[in-house]
């Protein structure tokens, strides 16, 4: 599995001088800052700092850019926990339980949980990448639209479990998101409505919509309070309590490991990645938990499941980039640009001829993950200060940043106006106990679902079920999904009925 000689050369490349590591800590800090400001994307940070890497050697450039990637993935989780603003779509599920924990005064513990789960998740993701890059690359090549349909469907099933008051309201919110995702040109080029706005040709921009529906509507709800954490005694930033959160993470090893494996697996699928991974992982943690009713109200397992999955998906997303030269998302596309600047082409020949460089990138990332633990702990003390800011100042400031973030994504007035429109929608939904997260999931996955379904129909000549039988990976995924979603609950209900009968 591992080329021992290349591995020893990789260690030599990384540790013979300090040069490759010089830019890692600045990269992590840049990522943390960009990730924790709504509207500033990780890919944007990587693109902004890409020209800086032109003067670096290849390994140094890779470690700098991937450090931004690693720091940004965690930074998005910090604002999801503290302010219910997921920095990116990969942190949506982190907000479900992280924010309720913060409101209960457990922000230190939640940040500790998030940091530890991120570090462990990333570590597992990169270890898997190191060991399995060859076989995983072969597997990624076998993934087609049918497999993507099954994975996206799995992500969508989370909608049914998100309900603040009734299942019908949860489903209504989710289907509303699906319908909203259908604005603009279809994946086959058919022009549907743009509501008279040419900026909506590619559909509703998801990140501004997410900022509006999550953040702006929540900030309006906070308006009447004085601080994010009402109890003054709970408002401190305590390293001891953050470390207690770190320790708590390891009390849920199954959730942590399952989240990391789900993240690495789904992250490897180009185009799906961490956005779906954190949702599937959260859904599975909730489904298999002994106390599913605690989820959404501040369950530590929810934070662990989401953060471990979105972090380990980073390793997964590097599979397609390193082994096939295919960027799975915007961030890996910037890495690919750095590849080409240094005259390197990702793909099988890169792995075959420059195995030592591939290994040194992966090992360098493992080192970065450990540094993230230290940098993260130090930065959390600063980022956590937000709970001490009076809400009279925090609410308008963050609202203004939300609108700015909307502009930062689209570059037109459509961004801020999308934030405002979704703030109104989110406000109406929250007032009437509809889960806003379900709408975001529908909006995020709707277009993906449509594209993959259409491609599946075209490839299968409108015979998707027959085609499914010819696709072993899709079939295994579909059976696993049905077993988890239908089989396990049915078995549980059967056992409960038997136990009741035995009791009578």
């Amino acid at each position: 599995m591992l080329d021992q000689f290349a591995l020893s050369q990789a260690f030599g490349l990384l540790f013979s001088s300090f040069d490759p590591w010089i830019w890692v800590i600045p990269g992590l800090l840049i990522g943390l800052v960009f990730g924790s400001i709504p509207g500033l994307q990780i890919s944007m940070a990587m693109a902004v700092f890409l020209p800086v890497t032109f003067g670096m050697d290849f390994l140094q450039a890779m470690l700098f850019l991937t450090a931004i990637f690693t720091g940004g993935a965690y930074g998005g989780g910090v604002t999801a926990i503290l302010m219910n603003i997921p920095g990116s779509s990969s942190s949506i599920a982190t907000a479900f339980d992280g924010y309720p924990m913060a409101r209960q005064g457990k922000h230190n513990e939640a940040l500790g949980l998030g940091l530890a789960a991120s570090v462990v998740g990333s570590f597992i993701g990169y270890i898997l990448l190191l060991l399995l890059i060859g076989p995983m690359a072969a597997l990624v090549l076998k993934i087609g639209p049918m497999e993507m349909v099954v994975v996206v469907l799995w992500g969508l099933t989370l909608i049914a479990t998100l309900n603040d008051s009734s299942l019908a309201k949860g489903l209504f919110a989710g289907f509303l998101g699906l319908v909203l995702s259908q604005i603009g040109m279809s994946t086959t080029g058919i022009m549907r409505t743009t509501v008279g706005n040419p900026h909506l040709l590619d559909g509703i921009p998801v990140v501004p919509a997410m900022i509006g529906i999550f953040a702006a509507s929540e900030l309006l709800r906070l308006r009447g309070s004085s601080y994010l954490v009402t109890d003054e005694a709970q408002r401190d930033i305590s390293l001891r309590r953050i470390l207690a959160g770190v320790a708590e993470t390891f009390r849920h090893p199954v959730v942590l490991l399952r989240g990391s494996l789900i993240g690495a697996g789904i992250g490897a699928i180009p185009g799906v990645g961490s956005s779906v991974a954190n949702l599937v992982s959260y859904g599975e943690a909730r489904r298999t938990s002994a106390t599913p009713e605690a989820f959404g109200k501040g369950a530590p397992e929810g934070v662990i499941a989401a953060e471990s999955a979105n972090s380990s998906s980073e390793g997964g997303s590097m599979t397609a980039l390193l082994a096939l030269g295919i960027p799975g998302g915007a961030a890996t596309a910037v890495l690919l640009a750095a590849f080409s600047f240094h005259n390197i082409i990702g793909g099988p020949s890169f792995i075959r001829n420059q195995t030592d460089v591939v290994y040194s990138i992966i090992l360098g990332n493992l080192g970065q993950v450990l540094l993230l633990a230290v940098v993260g702990l130090l930065m959390l003390r600063v980022l956590g200060m937000v709970v001490r800011v009076p809400l009279a100042y925090l609410v308008p400031s963050v609202l203004a940043m939300c609108a700015w973030g909307g502009y930062g994504i689209t570059g037109t007035v459509a961004g801020p106006l999308t934030v405002a429109a979704f703030a109104l929608l989110g406000w109406l939904m929250r007032r009437n106990a509809y889960p806003v997260a379900a709408t975001v999931i529908g909006l995020l996955l709707g277009r993906m679902m449509e594209g993959e379904l259409v491609r599946t129909l075209q490839i299968s000549n409108n015979q998707p079920m027959t085609y499914l039988l010819e696709r072993p990976i899709a079939l295994v995924l579909a059976i696993a999904m049905l077993a988890v979603l239908v089989g396990a609950p049915s078995l549980k209900a059967l056992r409960a009925r038997k136990a009741r009968r035995a009791g009578h």
Binding site: P396, W404, V413
Partner: protein, 144 residues
């Protein structure tokens, strides 16, 4: 059927169904092919059924849930936020942000006379020079 149906709930369902109807109509007018309707048609149908279930369930409920207070204040801030979002690219990011943050602090309970405008000015300056410099797009400003 003895329950009451809150106005904000009716407004939300009305808006959601109107948007759904409009998107479905536009999709049907564009093309009735399966590829075009594969997500929108079933989702719209299910939305209609779910809306009916929600309305019936709410009307059957004996005790109507009390509507949360503070709707007017929220709507004022929402309207202000909408105007601010529009003003960013029409008035200027600097002035729009300064005015919105100042007014927002006052509406949210900031009592001091000079701290809110001072804070709003420093915050706007930091956003324009910090956040704004990272934008890959041109940004309209009136003063800065």
């Amino acid at each position: 059927m003895s329950g009451r149906f809150p106005a904000s709930h009716a407004a939300f369902l009305g808006i959601a169904l109107a948007i759904t109807g409009f998107i479905l109509w536009s999709a049907l007018s564009a093309s009735t092919s399966l590829n075009n309707l594969i997500v929108v048609a079933p989702a719209a149908l299910l939305l209609g059924i779910l809306a009916l279930c929600i309305v019936v369930a709410a009307l059957r409920k004996q005790d109507a849930e009390p509507a949360p207070a503070g709707a007017l204040g929220d709507l004022v801030l929402l309207a202000g936020f909408g105007i601010f979002c529009y003003a960013l690219t029409h008035v200027g990011f600097d002035v729009a942000t300064f005015v919105f943050v100042w007014a927002g602090i006052v509406v949210s309970g900031g009592r001091s006379l000079w701290v809110p405008p001072l804070y709003a000015a420093v915050f706007s300056l930091a956003l324009v020079k910090g956040f704004g410099s990272l934008f890959p797009y041109p940004m309209l400003t009136l003063v800065l």
